[in-house]
């Protein structure tokens, strides 16, 4: 199996690379992991990881800087319907639009927008940093063998607000119920960082690999 981790200068991806490598070694699965922005390599991969750190605006801009990348991702995920896993801002970009810094158009894969978490007049610190609990809202393949209320690691100030709840697979609570993950057919996304979520996170990565 070939897995491509999209390299589009969206921040630090070494932990993503390390975690996928670790899971593959543990599983003895023959998997080739490529960190790439090459369109042909991406399109011919079996699965894609779309990481993303920093702001919605910067990530979308970086994505657009690589000519043809957006179209390639569209072809891979929407036309060919092959599995794609968006992490943090990588997931947020599934939305139609983001409001971080300025209004920015997203990939438009899952209807909705990305806006700032309501900190209830400074009662809640932002960013939302640390370990919080998952509460499942649907039966996601990503969470096979993962217990309700498992802890995963979050770092974000903006939240994904979907037009309808159908594609939300889990939530977490921080000042309000916040989308922790989404799933729509072959599209998977987590607001939290599985690569930094210890054994629970590695299990989620394993589940994605074994889809």
């Amino acid at each position: 199996m070939n897995i491509a981790i999209i390299d589009y200068e969206s921040g630090n991806i070494s932990s993503v690379i390390n975690s996928f490598k670790k899971v593959c070694t543990n599983q003895n699965i023959e998997i080739k992991i490529e960190v790439t922005s090459d369109l042909k390599t991406i399109l011919s991969s079996d699965k894609i990881i779309l990481p993303g750190q920093g702001s919605f605006k910067n990530c979308t801009k970086s994505l657009e800087k690589i000519k043809g990348l957006k179209d390639t991702l569209n072809e891979f995920a929407i036309i060919k319907k092959k599995p794609l896993f968006g992490i943090c801002v990588g997931m947020q970009m599934f939305a139609d639009v983001g409001y971080e810094e300025t209004e920015t158009k997203g990939l438009g894969w899952i209807g909705g927008n990305v806006k700032k978490i309501d900190n209830k007049e400074n009662q809640f610190k932002l960013p939302h940093i640390g370990w919080n609990e998952l509460s499942f809202t649907s039966n996601s393949k990503l969470f096979r063998d993962i217990k309700e209320k498992s802890h995963v690691y979050f770092v974000h100030s903006y939240k994904f607000v979907p037009d309808n709840e159908t594609y939300v697979s889990s939530k977490t609570n921080y000042s309000e119920a916040i989308v922790a993950s989404v799933e729509k057919d072959n599209l998977f996304g987590t607001q939290f960082h599985p690569e930094k979520s210890d054994s629970v996170g590695l299990k989620i990565i394993e589940n994605f690999i074994n889809l």
């Binding site: 921040g11 630090n12 070494s14 932990s15 390390n18 975690s19 490598k21 670790k22 750190q53 920093g54 702001s55 910067n58 900190n119 400074n122 610190k125 932002l126 960013p127 939302h128 940093i129 640390g130 370990w131 919080n132 609990e133 802890h151 690691y153 979050f154 770092v155 974000h156 100030s157 609570n173 921080y174 690569e195 930094k196 979520s197 210890d198 054994s199 996170g201 590695l202």
Partner: protein
């Protein structure tokens, strides 16, 4: 519910672990990668390395330590010490650090926090503040506590938040190495001033001190070095203790 984090910190010099009393009198006690692994297996919510390597020729040792740690530990790794420039930050992140803590350069280079949080994202920029009490105020010290700056801690903390810092790591120079507990007043005053998470540091000698940091200091995370490093308490014991006192922790 968001849990309060427990962060063991390892002082690293020339690629080896040390922990000093008041930043002097260092003892060598092991391989940082092995230590980090033990910590993450026993439930550490994050791991922090403070690189106190003095000489430039040995600076590279930290990158190998980070690389090997990040290949084996899957909880966030924060690295600080001697970070001066965007290039320094980039090198640490590429090696496998998830966050970088910046101390002296945050004071001396007024644009570094703004530029770095913009370039790499606030989530990986931690500003480390070393504070010493002066009358009824606190003052910023740099260079591992050796240089007085005359800068007011509360003003500086607010400025760092506005510049884009994702978290503040507050160390009381008066308490560091004393095992007398955090400077709760310092932590809570800063917590009231800013709306980003605070990591309390400096002075932990007992598990009760960790409790006080969260309960009275309102810190989002508590950092300690020697009580974990010398095996006085395990991370698990610390978590069970906090849990028994009603503090939300990841168990």
């Amino acid at each position: 519910m968001l849990k309060n984090r427990i962060i063991p910190c390892l002082d690293v010099k020339n690629g080896r672990v040390v922990k000093g009393i008041n930043f002097v009198d260092l003892k060598d006690a092991g391989d940082p990668v092995e230590q980090a692994k033990i910590y993450s297996e026993s439930g550490a919510d994050e791991i922090c390395f403070l690189d106190i390597t003095a000489s430039n020729e040995n600076r590279e040792t930290i990158f190998d330590v980070i690389k090997r740690t990040s290949e084996n530990c899957f909880v966030p790794l924060t690295v600080g010490g001697g970070v001066r420039s965007l290039e320094d930050i980039n090198k640490l992140l590429v090696s496998g650090a998830d966050k970088v803590s910046i101390n002296t350069a945050a004071v001396n280079n007024k644009n570094l926090i703004k530029e770095s949080s913009k370039k790499f994202g606030s989530q990986c920029i931690v500003v480390a503040i070393d504070a010493k009490q002066k009358n009824d105020k606190w003052e910023i010290y740099t260079h591992g506590g050796r240089t007085e700056t005359g800068i007011d801690v509360l003003d500086f903390a607010k400025k760092m938040e506005d510049s884009g810092a994702g978290e503040l790591l507050i160390t009381s120079m008066d308490r560091d190495g004393t095992q007398k507990g955090y400077d709760i007043k310092l932590i809570s005053e800063i917590e009231k001033k800013v709306n980003i998470p605070i990591i309390a540091s400096g002075g932990v000698g007992t598990l009760e001190h960790l409790f006080e940091g969260v309960k009275y200091g309102k810190a989002s995370a508590v950092l300690a070095a020697s009580i974990f490093h010398y095996g006085t308490y395990s991370i698990q014991e610390a978590k069970q203790y906090l849990d028994s006192k009603g503090i939300p922790v990841r168990i």
